[in-house]
């Protein structure tokens, strides 16, 4: 039963089986929390926003229509919840890149440092660029779903992803090596192919 598709569970929630929301909570609280925490850099706020998303699911459950992909629907709610929060409390928007969440130690010290710098570079991006990267890289949303979410064309999504990635690369590059041309650091992680190597996806 726990393997029921999200959409079936949501239809049950809509029809009054509120307890089924618990299963959806277990599936989505992690991804949503990571979406918010990587976007805002604030764990406490992220937990509050996750709660708000599930409250809104209950409040607006009647508006869920069969056939709507639940993941896309829930991220629409998540975006709105964040936008509304910052509209209500604009002062809390200030973000200090030095207040990074702790990075877990990994096997390699160099990799650890790189991950930390990449995280910093991500947090330095303008919010819209950071958001689109998070949506496609971590939240498993299809480009079509992102286009609908952001209210733009599919090609615009592709362009925006590419621009965001370009900026992230520049920012990461500056943090790792300063503005000078690159070195072999891109090949530092064993999870990555050496630069210029093959990139099978």
């Amino acid at each position: 039963m726990t393997l029921a598709p999200d959409e079936d569970l949501m239809l049950q929630v809509r029809d009054g089986a509120g307890e089924m929301l618990g299963v959806l909570f277990d599936r989505y609280q992690g991804p949503l929390f990571n979406f918010y925490s990587k976007l805002t850099g604030d764990r406490t706020l992220s937990e509050d926003l996750v709660q708000e998303v599930f409250l809104r699911i209950l409040k607006y459950r009647q508006s869920y229509r069969p056939g709507t992909p639940f993941r896309a629907w829930v991220y629409q709610i998540a975006r709105n919840a964040r936008i509304d929060h910052f509209r209500k409390f604009p002062r809390e928007r200030a973000f200090d890149p030095d207040m990074l969440p702790p990075v877990r130690p990994t096997d390699s010290a160099q990799e650890h440092q790189e991950v930390e710098l990449l995280h910093r570079a991500l947090l330095q991006l303008p919010e819209d660029k950071r958001e689109i990267l998070l949506l496609c890289r971590f939240q498993e949303l299809k480009y079509e779903e992102i286009a609908e979410l952001l209210g733009c064309e599919l090609n615009t999504v592709r362009t925006r992803i590419h621009r965001a990635l370009q900026e992230l690369r520049k920012s990461f590059h500056q943090l790792t090596q300063g503005p000078a041309p690159k070195s072999a650091s891109a090949a530092a992680s064993e999870n990555l192919p050496p630069r210029g190597g093959r990139h099978e996806v």
Partner: protein, 271 residues
């Protein structure tokens, strides 16, 4: 191929959705271009970012919220108010087939006809609307208002919800619709409809009547979910006068603990 052209293909390359030919083209470019290949490397490296875990408190909060919601839905306040009784035999079809409904719709259709006539025959002249046009518009508004009032009286919660949503299309609320909404906020048996009414009323905070009703509802509502929504609304309005009422609320002995916690948060926000 130039970086710009590759850039157009890169997002699909990263998702593995290019054709084999295009995939080979991109691979060939990446072997020569340090910047583009570094972009791909950065994309892959993103997967190394730590997955953060929410605190266990998060699940507890969710359980409390869900329980509050379920309790709120089963605790239905009495719905046999005078106002409701007055209109209760109404339903959309019954109302439309009644002489009053038929007359209202005839008037509406006539009004729409005349209104359309005015707009097709002559271009609109905004500086000096004719008295006839003003009258037609007033009749249209009146009909719309009757429909909303009727919807708010329906037996089915979803129809009442629709009625509430209907009111959000208007920038200015007619006093009768406003008072119907305030009534819905206080007495509607469905938690969802009361929450929607609160959302709708939130847009009309300039009306002093709205603010005072929301503050008063704080003491009357038993559903924790509605209480939390009311508290949020007062915080959003930065309603400092609400502070004393919130303090009184948090003293209530049978108050849901999550609501008390929320009231404490609100008091700190209003300070």
């Amino acid at each position: 191929m130039k970086c710009e052209q590759i850039g157009e293909l890169l997002p699909d390359y990263l998702q593995g959705s290019l054709s084999p030919d295009q995939h080979r083209t991109v691979n060939a470019h990446l072997e020569q271009c340090a910047d583009c290949s570094e972009e791909v490397a950065v994309w892959r490296k993103l997967s190394l970012l730590p997955v953060e875990q929410p605190s266990p408190r998060s699940r507890v909060r969710f359980e409390a919220m869900l329980q509050a919601y379920q309790t709120g839905r089963s605790n239905q306040p009495p719905s046999n108010s005078r106002w409701r009784k007055l209109f209760s035999p109404w339903n959309v079809l019954g109302w439309l087939s009644s002489p009053l409904g038929a007359a209202a719709w005839s008037a509406a259709l006539l009004a729409i006809g005349v209104f359309a006539g005015f707009h097709t025959v002559s271009p609109p002249k905004p500086p000096s609307p004719s008295p006839e046009l003003a009258q037609v518009e007033a009749e249209l508004a009146n009909t719309k208002q009757l429909v909303v009032l009727s919807m708010l009286q329906q037996q089915s919660a979803s129809s009442r919800l629709e009625g509430v949503n209907f009111t959000t299309r208007e920038e200015q609320l007619n006093p009768q619709v406003l008072s119907a909404l305030l009534h819905t906020l206080r007495y509607d048996p469905s938690v969802d409809v009361r929450l929607a009414a609160l959302d709708a009323l939130g847009r009309h905070s300039a009306q002093p009547q709205v603010r005072s009703s929301v503050v008063n509802a704080l003491q009357e509502q038993q559903s924790p979910l509605v209480q939390v929504a009311l508290i949020d609304q007062l915080v959003e309005w930065h309603d400092r006068e609400a502070k004393s009422r919130l303090e009184k609320l948090r003293q209530s002995q049978d108050l849901n603990p999550s609501v008390r916690q929320h009231a404490d948060w609100a008091i700190s926000k209003l300070n």
